[in-house]
């Protein structure tokens, strides 16, 4: 399999992708020079597309966003002229479109994401407050999912065809396809509302005055269900990819050799086969940041967790355009950036693409 050094966004674990044409040799000559900058160029392009979407979508909608928003009778009707002026300044709707775009970019460059109508605060202020909570949720879920998905995949492949393998395969296949908003609601209902094992929502007990250790425990208690739910969802696909990559490693001669030498099973599983099967899993983990943000939007809403997802949901609920735009931009740029990091990491790890 000729691994695709020049696929810009995350080389997919897809063998058929690059059976390409006869022009391969000519292309190789180009690729060598292009490869190093390709991920960064494609990253810049994607961010530009996101920023432009963020500018264009509200303006493509029928009518004038400010009128629609502030019309009498809309839930956001604001009598305050100061807010109206602030909005007019931010959207700059009287200027010609290219001028609007430039002023929008200029605002962005200075970190000005507009003024929230509903919360009556600068959007960037709220986002800064909420971003760490979402990052905490996603990071913990990611780490836990890797700790679940990879060992499960390795174990399953090792015992392929046996009962453990079938059980795990069935479990993760269903987990992968369960709609997270439904499972989340059920888990909340059972474990928090019925059994009262966990708090119903939020990220910490309000007005509690704990010491540092108690605070950590309190936040952990609030985070347990959301993190576990998200982690299982991520782990499912990691498991599937790990298992299939591992199965294709298992026939390899080095494993037979290792076994003949009397190496321990665990060492063969993790240090030998698992290590070689890891690359496609890393690609998958990179692609999962998009899923992570999506899950965060639903999970934060269900568990009333004060992150960016809940902020976006609330903004959608009251049709607060600037807040929606800001949350969307930050969430998506976060995903794309995580993808870039994983892509660069992958290039380091894979000897075939390491520069």
């Amino acid at each position: 399999m000729s691994r695709t050094a020049h696929r810009t966004t995350g080389p997919l674990p897809d063998a058929s992708e690059e059976e390409a044409g006869q022009t391969e040799v000519v292309q190789e000559a180009f690729e060598g020079r292009r490869t190093r900058w390709a991920p960064i160029l494609s990253y810049a392009l994607t961010v530009l597309v996101l920023v432009t979407l963020n500018f264009a979508v509200p303006r493509l909608m029928p009518g004038d966003p400010i009128d629609a928003l502030l019309a009498q009778g809309s839930p956001n009707y604001v009598a305050d002229d100061a807010v109206r002026e602030e909005l007019a300044r931010y959207y700059n709707l009287d200027a010609p479109l290219p001028r609007q775009y430039l002023s929008y970019l200029a605002n962005l460059a200075t970190g000005d994401l507009g003024h929230s109508i509903h919360f009556n605060r600068p959007v960037s202020h709220d986002l800064r407050e909420r971003l760490p909570w979402t990052l905490l949720l996603i990071t913990l879920a990611m780490i836990l999912s890797i700790a679940i998905g990879l060992p499960a995949g390795i174990h399953s492949a090792w015992k392929r065809g046996r009962r453990v393998d079938r059980g795990l395969l069935g479990f993760f296949l269903s987990v992968q396809n369960l709609p997270i908003y439904f499972v989340g609601a059920m888990v909340l209902l059972v474990f928090a509302a019925r059994l009262r094992l966990f708090p119903l929502g939020g990220a910490s007990t309000p007005f509690a005055d704990y010491g540092p250790l108690a605070t950590v425990l309190d936040v952990g208690h609030h985070l347990a269900l959301p993190v576990l739910l998200m982690a299982l969802q991520f782990a499912a696909f990691q498991y599937l990819v790990m298992r299939s990559a591992m199965v294709s490693e298992l026939g390899a001669d080095y494993l037979l050799g290792g076994r003949a030498k009397g190496l321990r099973k665990r060492r063969l599983q993790y240090a030998y086969a698992g290590r070689n099967a890891l690359l496609p899993v890393i690609t998958v983990i990179g692609m999962q940041f998009s899923l992570a943000v999506t899950s965060a939007i639903f999970i934060e809403q269900i568990f009333a967790y004060p992150g960016l997802g809940l902020y976006m949901f609330n903004a959608v609920f009251v049709r607060d355009y600037p807040a929606m735009q800001g949350a969307f931009l930050v969430l998506t740029v976060m995903v794309v950036t995580a993808n870039l990091v994983v892509d660069l990491l992958y290039r380091r790890l894979d000897p075939r693409t390491a520069a």
Partner: protein, 281 residues
């Protein structure tokens, strides 16, 4: 049709998927005859328990939950089917054009595919739906515009590898025009792999339709499973009484079964073109 039957016999997973989707489609088509009430009409007291008149009770507005559930199948399938058809049309067209024309066109198509793939689709969908106002058409078009790259990639890479096979060269040598080659040689070979991709896409569309409704961005004029969930969860009593058994659970299970049905079809078709799977799955 007979080919489908042989496939079904070979894979039980595929069979289950086909049965689930057939049942759903039947319910969706026959919704007016199956559902006893108009799902939006107030036909009883608020929060009635299940009875012979209201099989799953009524919601907080007094609408019949069972009727909502039946009509929800229609919304789900309409979105899944139209969005998937759109994905198919755009994906196959762009993939074939990229694979057969090559050059600048190919670069352009594949770079756009990369960019679209890199954008987190569901946050963007939420963004668009919240700006455009909740409507089914917006959801369908957005899913179509965001879902094509997967199909286009598969079609392109298969086209590239098929293009240089003997039988294609032979057909070209006899003077067959490109459209004929496409129809006679490329599309049949691409069939199963595209079908599997579309099945996964349809499953995703079901999740997305319900998910949008769950966030409150569903079409307010139609019944939707996601909207049932959203409404049930907004009602505080759901957390302390057993109401969730007939209000929340059926809609959630319906979404789950629909998604699994489509996914099973996709997984069942996979061995057809990816022999690696037959050995381990």
């Amino acid at each position: 049709m007979s080919r489908l039957l042989t496939e079904v016999r070979r894979s039980p997973l595929l069979a289950v998927g086909v049965v689930v989707v057939t049942v759903l489609a039947t319910v969706a088509v026959l919704a007016p005859y199956i559902a006893p009430f108009d799902p939006k009409a107030i036909v009883g007291n608020a929060l009635e328990e299940p009875s012979s008149r209201h099989l799953l009770g009524t919601n907080d507005a007094g609408a019949d939950i069972f009727s909502e559930l039946v009509w929800g199948a229609r919304s789900t399938l309409v979105v899944a089917a139209s969005a998937t058809a759109l994905v198919l049309a755009i994906g196959v067209l762009l993939g074939l054009v990229a694979g057969l024309r090559g050059g600048v066109v190919e670069t352009l198509v594949m770079r756009s595919a990369d960019v679209v793939l890199a954008i987190p689709a569901i946050p963007l969908l939420i963004f668009i739906a919240s700006m455009a106002g909740p409507s089914r058409t917006v959801a369908i078009v957005s899913i179509g515009l965001l879902g094509w790259p997967q199909v286009a990639r598969v079609v392109r890479s298969q086209t590239l590898s098929l293009r240089n096979r003997g039988f294609v060269h032979a057909a070209r040598g006899y003077g067959a025009d490109p459209l004929f080659v496409m129809r006679r040689h490329l599309l049949p070979a691409l069939g199963p792999i595209i079908a599997a991709n579309l099945a996964f896409m349809a499953g995703l569309a079901v999740t997305i339709e319900a998910g949008l409704a769950f966030i409150g961005l569903g079409d307010p004029t139609t019944a939707s499973w996601g909207a049932i969930l959203e409404r049930a969860l907004r009602h505080q009593a759901i957390y302390v009484t057993s109401m969730w058994v007939w209000w929340l659970l059926p809609a959630g299970l319906a979404i789950t079964v629909a998604v699994l049905g489509f996914t099973f079809i996709g997984v069942g078709l996979e061995p057809r073109f990816n022999p690696r799977w037959t050995r381990f799955a």
